[in-house]
Amino acid sequence: MSENLLSVKDLTVEFKNFGETTRIINGISFGIEKGESVGIVGESGCGKSITALSIMRLISSPQGCVNGSIKLGGRELLTLSEKEMRSVRGQDISMIFQEPMTSLNPVMTIGKQLGEVFRFHQNLSPAQAHKRAIEALRMVNIALPEQRVNEYPHQLSGGMRQRVMIAMALSCRPKLLIADEPTTALDVTIQAQILELMAKLREELGTSVMLITHDLGVVSEVCSRAVILYCGQVMEEAHVGPLFREPLHPYTQGLLKSLPSIGRREKLYVIRGTVPSPRDFPSGCVFHPRCERATERCREAVPELKALEGGRRVRCWLY
């Protein structure tokens, strides 16, 4: 097993609101190896995006309080100064967001925005940065990059904007790319283009990818390993093959059974109830009120995240 590029240990994130502290993330641990692509899966409100923002150190204190350890290539990120962190962002880790329209600056040309990365991290002159911006656009297969570089975000389509975001994120050859629902706002045929592009660039540049998504289909096609989150905790972690062939945790099983899949037309399985609000997470196992196999023990005690063979981990009293 090769060295972990990113290792997150016992990450907890709390938010203070009117004197009330809400714990959004409760002791998440996972690692990403070099060149690996890991999917972080969960429903809305399970803490996937907060995990990503914590790794980027984008959670603002004092309202948000991040504890634990996040190491990138052996270097602790949580104790870096803001200035040191700025050189890490974009250079070592970069991130693409769900909505490419809101994450690009509408009053700056594509070229200026792309060039900024080069000017900041590599101290290039404006002319050189412009040249590199064109190269970056060519890398993500944008037609006529010389022309596009002078256009504004509103002149591009959704898929093209997401390509620009990817170009920007990968322009400094980061070690880790965090993609937060990169294809959720896009149509399926465009989604297929973007996922293909990301896979190609990952191979060429050797970047590790952390893909955040709620779409299990995307994970099974793109990632080698997946971490299933629920209510700020890791429920299950496994390689994609075994995970989808025989999911262990009742939550993962429920998720997979409740998907309508092509070629199967029976009544859909339903996970009863809804995702609890972070303010009143249930006692014991967070999933027990919705679990069909819950016992007295699940109500009272929190199960440990147990390591099984084959690098699998599961948080359930059944195992």
Binding site: D187, V188, T189, Q191, A192, G217, E221, L255, R265
Partner: protein, 329 residues
């Protein structure tokens, strides 16, 4: 499709939105959101309408209910001409066709209690007296799996799935025959989505509803629909029964669309056909076959508009390539 009653029928339906001209005497431009679509919805079936964003599927559905005035074409609902109906008649006919929207956060009035929300369609359609309405409202809330005490609450007190249940109850208030579901589960989480899909199916069996189900999610459409129409840039490119469409897609666009869906089962995965480029702007669609700019098989012939043709068993395709293949065989 023998002896099935046609509930809603549209013929050569067009909806063109005028675009503001830059100069006073510049030629008039239109966005052809729906361009010459003919379609029949049979009683008791679920007809799926799929396509990517901007292909005109929502516009088509809204025009079919005359929520938008069509530019030209014919609409027949239950044998009556919907376009000839005056405002008063139209209002009476609306009782029989209702719609559920995508966003359960935007489609419910935030300052109305659930009881008022559900009662409103009953008042408009002059359904019974106060007592009768109250009884109907309780019946409705039970029908969608919520409790009578929920009636006193406001929409913000509910989760997304519950809100969508309320929106469905409101649509069912006047006992419509046809319910248009415009992406009803797109805004919901996976575990909640299956609850709503099951509810829609249960209701269909219980009350005998006809659905026009719009979605961009092919696995959802495959699950719930009997027949599926595929749209691309305002045109219907293929229409077939569910099994026929998924097992034997004929139009190159349908093929690409089906292969682009991420699958969990690796055995089900097909060779992916990745389309190049983006969807052209509907203000300036390509001449001839709308898909020819992205099509692998496009030839000179595709610069002319293909007719939508029946290739057997109610499987309609609009593609020169397909009809040419037929001739060759």
């Amino acid at each position: 499709m023998e002896n099935k009653k046609v509930l809603l029928k549209v013929k050569n339906l067009k909806k063109w939105f005028p675009v503001k001209r830059g100069l006073p005497f510049a030629p008039k431009l239109y966005i052809k959101a729906v361009d010459d679509v003919s379609l029949e919805v049979y009683e008791g079936e679920t007809l799926g309408l799929v396509g990517e964003s901007g292909c005109g599927k929502s516009t088509l559905a809204r025009t079919m209910l005359r929520l938008l005035e069509p530019t030209s074409g014919e609409i027949e609902f239950n044998g009556e001409d919907l376009l000839k109906a005056g405002p008063r008649e139209l209002r009476a006919m609306r009782r029989h066709m209702q719609i559920v929207f995508q966003d359960p956060f935007g489609s419910l009035h935030p300052k109305m209690r659930v009881r008022t929300i559900l009662e409103e369609p009953l008042i408009i359609s002059k359904f019974a007296d106060r007592k009768g309405r109250a009884a109907r409202v309780e019946e409705l809330i039970d029908l969608v799996g919520l409790k009578p005490e929920h009636l006193r609450r406001y929409p913000h007190e509910f989760s997304g799935g519950q809100r969508q249940r309320i929106a469905i109850a409101r649509a069912l208030a006047t006992s419509p025959g046809l319910v248009v579901c415009d992406e009803p589960v797109s805004a919901l989480d996976v575990s909640v989505r299956s609850q709503i899909l099951n509810l829609l199916e249960e209701l269909q069996q219980k009350i005998g509803l006809t659905y026009l189900f719009i979605s961009h999610d092919l696995s959802v459409v495959e699950h719930i629909c009997d027949r599926i129409a595929v749209m691309y840039l305002g045109k219907m490119v293929e229409l077939a029964s569910r099994d026929e469409l998924f097992n034997n897609p004929l139009h190159p666009y349908t093929k690409a669309l089906l292969s682009a869906v991420p699958r969990i089962n690796s055995e089900q995965r097909q060779a992916r056909i990745t389309l190049q480029g983006d969807i052209p702007s509907p203000a300036n669609p390509p001449e001839g076959c709308r898909f020819h700019t992205r099509c692998r098989f496009a030839t000179e012939l595709c610069k002319a508009m293909p007719e939508i043709k029946d290739v057997g068993d109610g499987h309609f395709v609009a593609c020169h390539y397909v009809s040419r293949n037929e001739e060759m065989e």
